[in-house]
Symmetry: none
Subunit: 200 residues, 4 copies
């Protein structure tokens, strides 16, 4: 019998280690040897689980997004009506959240010149936008905002705000504590509440 190893858990352990390295050293500062050190194995083991470095990076992205989604799902299950709480999960608040989001953002620049990554990012974005859209639809149902004339554009607008805030907060954590980020988010939601009546 071979050494008993859970192939998937090993893979995701390496992906998680890659996330940590990316959050710390940046995506182009990532070396497989560092990932190996962080994961407690050698580069040989890494290439046993991944075809090449790029596959490790993609797995790291998937891992970060997956972890974020998991947190979101849990939050939604616990408090379905907590709009601000749900949206805050995609902001760099708390150390774990920050790391995941830094990984997510790190891939933007790389996607700018990598079509395969763009496709992957686009899929992720659509799923996230759909969640945000459902959230907005819930608000409309509860009468907090007027029904959107164009739900996709409305959701897209909210996504843009969240990414914009999250980016600024990632670059400048000192100036952007959680309360400032959430404040900006609330500011936007208030605008929506006050302004959505006139059917933009």
């Amino acid at each position: 019998m071979p050494r008993i190893v859970d192939h998937d858990s090993r893979r995701s352990a390496i992906a998680a280690a890659a996330c940590r390295v990316i959050a710390q050293r940046g995506i182009d500062g990532l070396k497989l040897t560092d990932v190996g050190t962080a994961a407690g194995c050698t580069t040989g083991a890494i290439t046993h689980y991944f075809a090449d470095k790029n596959a490790v990076l993609v797995a790291a992205l998937d891992h970060a997004i997956g972890a974020m989604n998991l947190r979101i799902e849990r939050r939604l299950a616990r408090a379905p009506g907590d709009v601000l709480g749900f949206l805050s999960e995609t902001l760099p608040i708390g150390s774990r959240g920050r790391a995941e989001i830094v990984v997510w953002y790190s891939f933007w620049a790389r996607a700018l010149s990598d079509p395969a990554l763009v496709r992957r990012q686009r899929g992720m974005h659509k799923r996230w936008r759909a969640q945000v859209g459902r959230c907005l639809a819930g608000m409309a149902e509860r009468g907090e905002i007027a029904p959107a004339d164009d739900p996709v554009e409305q959701a897209e607008g909210l996504c843009a705000v969240i990414n914009g805030i999250g980016l600024r907060a990632s670059l400048d954590p000192g100036e952007w504590p959680a309360r400032r980020q959430v404040g900006q988010l609330r500011r936007y939601l208030d605008l929506l509440r006050a302004g959505s009546g006139d059917g933009v």
Copy 2:
């Protein structure tokens, strides 16, 4: 006898070439040899004008931001009241604008793990935010929106929206033609107009 060359113009020619390379191959795909090819000189010439690769990158960022600012200044001089036009200059509209903005965004990811770059980006952001703030103040003066209780946060919110839209449009130019980007921007400004009355 040394050839007479304008040192500064040579530097900025190389920086411009670096911008083009970044827009095309991405910031971590940039090689000095490619920059040399794009600038019509050799790597040796580059190292005459720049201490090292990082200096080239920084110059490329400065060049992109500088070109963007120049466009903005001209636009403001020509049409001081055209709020939408002014803000659109920082969106990836038109091929030249897109390249500059891709360069700008490319540095975000790198800044996430490079304190020196963060400082530089912070300065740029503050200048831009100030411009955006003056634009909003102008709108308030003209009575389009109510005076902001917190002008910095208001400007920061608008910056976030622009970055969020610009990022999405950069990643997915096909889905984000100029009119959709501007549409999102107008959507936000309309929210501001409708909603700023209650002192968010």
Copy 3:
């Protein structure tokens, strides 16, 4: 309790698999993992039966030569006087024959820089040359050709022709169908028949 396995049959199954891999990927493209896949076992099993990679290669060569010899023996038993048929067995005719011969040839290049392999090849060659010599002696007995003044050199000459044709045919199967190969062989035998009278 150990599974009952025929040690020798396992060894030769692996050797046969190695032959297939060599015929397909070439001798320096052979990886033990591929051999494992082809043999339906793992690298671990291979290292149970063979000291190291080189031993696997040698076994592959032995296997190919052995298979070729088996075909030759059968042919000789069936039709002792069919000179052309006997000699054709060492040409790359038919898919099985081609694979074996490609393996055989692949070891030539390797033997050029491996004394141990040279020794092995020399032994194989001598046995084969002896067979070819017996074949020529049979022809002389039947009066088809004059008795050779130097049987070894005569056999060596025929071996050279066969190897030369076989090599060309291996490299360029499209241009060298069976009939062209056999045609060249017949051409040489005809020269022997016509020319051996003068005691070369």
Copy 4:
């Protein structure tokens, strides 16, 4: 002004070094560092002149074949009627000749599983066969042998003999001194002389 270097002579110096390494260590034992040592430069310099290892190998083959052709041309210019001398140039006689031919043969095995190399080898073979054909035509003109009914097949047959002898002699230099190789060659030519009358 940059360091003055004759690009082509540098390339061929490296190719020649690769030839030496192949002749000594075999084609799959070739390491770029060894080539560098043999050429008096580093691996970096090698990749400055060649895209990758494979390009170095191909250049080595071209170099060996080119050197052989040069020797042949010179010999033909000096002694156009010396058939045996011309043909001997493609046999492993003398240390320089042996090295070139070992390189040539080393590529056979590799070509067996590399279509690009096969194409290259095919071209080389055709040129060589044409030369051999012209040599045979000359013999026919001089009345040494009867005109061939099929000159291509006749030349092909002689090529096969030469390759067969050369291979054996390369593998077993001790048993195959120059006189034995040339003896085999003469033996074949004598067969041709005696036997070509009947239009094989």
